[in-house]
């Protein structure tokens, strides 16, 4: 199963109902143009970064976990450079401060270890405009050289600029 399948499966399930809560929280504002669907498939790449023991320990402590293993969500820290490129892309017109998280999936191909050099590549998997927000699904492939390590799928709800 690809990460897109993971996201898609949720999408066909209960996501619509549950994140409807988010929409009601975010509230209503004037509509604007949705993100152009031609951006599906756009990619962002970040070169390898080393997994460092001190960063793993700090991250583990921040999610109330034992630092003896790399937390299952640690790759979201490794993905920050590629996420930053995505959120700063002027052509998309999105912004981190207008973003909430709808769902998140990880597929683990092999465990991460301190000392690994891991690259990240983000691609835009799906774009929808619902009500007053863009729903953006992305996939991030975390790899050691050509070997896949973790596949990430995220869906963000990005509200309109008010």
């Amino acid at each position: 199963m690809s990460p897109c399948d993971v996201a898609g499966a949720a999408d066909r399930g209960r996501t619509g109902a549950s994140v409807g809560n988010y929409l009601s929280v975010i509230g209503d504002s004037l509509s604007r143009m949705a993100i152009d669907p031609s951006f599906v498939g756009r990619r962002y790449f970040a070169p390898p970064v080393k997994v460092r023991a001190a960063e793993v320990a700090e991250f583990a402590a921040s999610v109330q976990q034992d630092a003896s293993v790399v937390p299952l969500t640690f790759t979201m820290k490794l993905a920050q450079p590629v996420l930053a490129q995505f959120f700063a892309d002027p052509e998309l017109g999105i912004a981190l401060e207008r973003t909430v998280h709808a769902d998140q999936g990880f597929m683990y191909h092999r465990p991460i270890a301190v000392g690994d050099d891991l690259s990240t590549e983000l691609s835009i998997a799906k774009l929808r405009h619902r009500g007053t927000a863009d729903w953006v699904s992305i996939a991030i492939e975390v790899a050691a050289g050509v070997d896949p390590v973790i596949s990430i799928a995220s869906t963000f709800i990005i509200s309109e600029e008010s």
Binding site: M1, V6, A10, R14, T15, S18, V19, N21, Y22, V25, I26, G27, E55, E58, F59, A61, S62, V63, Q64, Q65, D66, V69, V70, P71, L72, T73, M76, K77, Q80, L96, E97, R98, T99, V100, H101, A102, D103, Q104, G105, F106, M107, Y108, P111, S159, S162
Partner: protein, 131 residues
Amino acid sequence: MLQSGVSLGELVIDVDRNTARRYAAASGDANPIHVDDAAAAKLGLPAAIAHGMWTMGAALGLLDQAGIRADQVVSTFCRFGKPLVLPSEGETVPLLVTGAVTKLADDVATLALEVHAGTERIAKIEVQVRA
């Protein structure tokens, strides 16, 4: 051990403003809606909210507590239903994580975790592990 219907127990974590500050620093997630009430208010939120990725990361601590090793985990998927609105400075709100095995097939167990903040369910997590 990972038979269908088996409970994974529960995990309780007190959440406060520092929870979000620490996660922001450790993860590099600089979204201001997690530390700044005014930024959250622009999205119609009553106050700053916890990072979804903090909630997921902390909730997955239930696996370790239940004796499941990280190298057994095949996949995790979290659906964030409601925001975890952070309490006022100096206050805490309890995060409660519960879970159970819902299926065992072909040596892969499916686990369902539920995450509550106070009395409200805020997230559901599905995990697949090698049994």
